[in-house]
Symmetry: C2
Subunit: 336 residues, 2 copies
Amino acid sequence: MPNINLKRLSEELGLSISSVSKALRDSYEISAETKKRVLAMAEKLNYQPNPFASSLRRKKSITIAVVIPEIANNFFALAIDGIQMVAQEKGYHVLTYLTHESFQNEESTIKHLQGGRVDGVLISLCRDTDSTKHLTSLHETGIPLVFFDRVPETMECPTVTTDDYESGFKATEHLIKAGCKKIACLSLSSLLSITHKRVHGYQDALKKYNMKEDPKLIIECTNNNQSNLEVIKKLLAKKDRPDGIFATVEKLAISTYYVCNEMKLKIPQQLKVISFSNLRTASLLNPSLSTITQPAFEIGKESASLLFRMIEKKTFGNRIDKIVLKSSLIERNSSR
Amino acid sequence: MPNINLKRLSEELGLSISSVSKALRDSYEISAETKKRVLAMAEKLNYQPNPFASSLRRKKSITIAVVIPEIANNFFALAIDGIQMVAQEKGYHVLTYLTHESFQNEESTIKHLQGGRVDGVLISLCRDTDSTKHLTSLHETGIPLVFFDRVPETMECPTVTTDDYESGFKATEHLIKAGCKKIACLSLSSLLSITHKRVHGYQDALKKYNMKEDPKLIIECTNNNQSNLEVIKKLLAKKDRPDGIFATVEKLAISTYYVCNEMKLKIPQQLKVISFSNLRTASLLNPSLSTITQPAFEIGKESASLLFRMIEKKTFGNRIDKIVLKSSLIERNSSR
DNA sequence: CTGTTAGCGCTTTCAT
DNA sequence: ATGAAAGCGCTAACAG
């Protein structure tokens, strides 16, 4: 902890503590002359205000929290980048919490945040979240809360998402047009808004092209990578294996690549794969991969901007913003 | 901010504030009976302590800061994952700051942290850092500081790094053994410990195999992606272009892939590339890529563990830890 | 324009 | 075993 505080500064300057405080906050009550002296002395002694004293008194922390399932994930890393950019502009600090897809972690994190440690919370739900009690409880304490990407489906709240349904539809359509007759869909969890909607788009695309939907082809994966690999392997080992795969999240696409690699299945000749992915180098490393790329950085920026509007009460009364951004479909020569 | 505090709790229970406080901290001065009552009431009213009051009083924040150049970067994302894991175990909060490779940002961030907002700092320097004044200043306030990966070379301090010199040596040797006659080296900045050491390894490998070192083949890149692309393009457009490239950081490898893609240069037939990379899927997407992979997650864990040892004063007096982990060289069929 | 004063909510002696 | 009281460092009325 720093040992040089307002008291010390004021003694050094022969001023009262409050005058020094006001000078430092550039109050109109203080003469330009004094301000200069104070600033100079603060600089000289390398004065750094104690943030806790200030937060305690002013009842604001100049800090926001970001709660996400994981960080070693291109989407979330980019989103955080966008969030940090906005936060930095506003002079806010950013606390990051990882839930590792565990509802328990999410719950306890949110509970801790009710202590007033932050002025606002950005959150992307974990795959197991099936209750919103902790979230409404946080909301009730008056702390602004914005959901991004993985949002609750049964709660009125501000959200920033992408066009999941449309993207799922288009991705599937892409595979159909590329000649696929049997398309599997890898989903994370039916509880999750994103996969739920993406799968719905998949189903409707099949319907549109009069392809019958086979429930066994919609595979709900777990949070265990090993078991996901096995399930995918089993799927692709079948004689009548699918000729197309729609992976609703990047991680499952990577698992698919891995299995194909192991089984010597050629993409796209033997299996066409399309996935949500923010692996920006994927098509550089393998030019035949089609992806749906979310504007992750923009999602981060939009979410943070919305949150700050709420913190600064610049958003009206009980208006609830729902921002939807567009993903981009990057089609490669998978039809070749 | 929460409205339910110790005062309210104590009124509800008919106890004094201090007794309630002690009960919640499980003090031996309080009877088991009372503790139970207090805990129950705290639970019932969903009491969350005000972290600022506590921090102000106890002069500790239960928070650490992580200062890194960027987050949309596989190495740093994984490192943060490791850091968060340890921090979470210890019940600490994690503040993240991005410098975006700007020395100014780094300086002002470090300066802010002198206010006592955190109990310790983990930092990986930005490419332009050429002074350690801000760092020694932070150190002098008594806040424990651990450097990881990008560490200062002119300052006695605890560090967690990988075997950069050896890896650079081996990577270059790999290219030489694969038949390369003219090997270029893409460096980020000579100010940076990691690239400095990696380039040194490159130079010594050339020496060992009696290949003359051409200073024009050691290319110091900038923080501007566009201009890096142009430099690489120019390098590869030459009639006597190199037949091997050693990229000291992942970003430059990706730029290289990109240029090769554009110029229709085949990797590895026409150009062998090896790079530091934590793009775990690289070889999945293109099986001919060789990489040096750093144990990023472990680096994060080790750094955080070391920091906590320092915070808890479990590390002796003026002992300075220097932890070096090993990278792994993943050799692919680039010699074919 | 400057100073005095009363807390913010919590921890921690020190009494009882 | 419990309570009274001081104070962490800062801000914001309110006086002067």
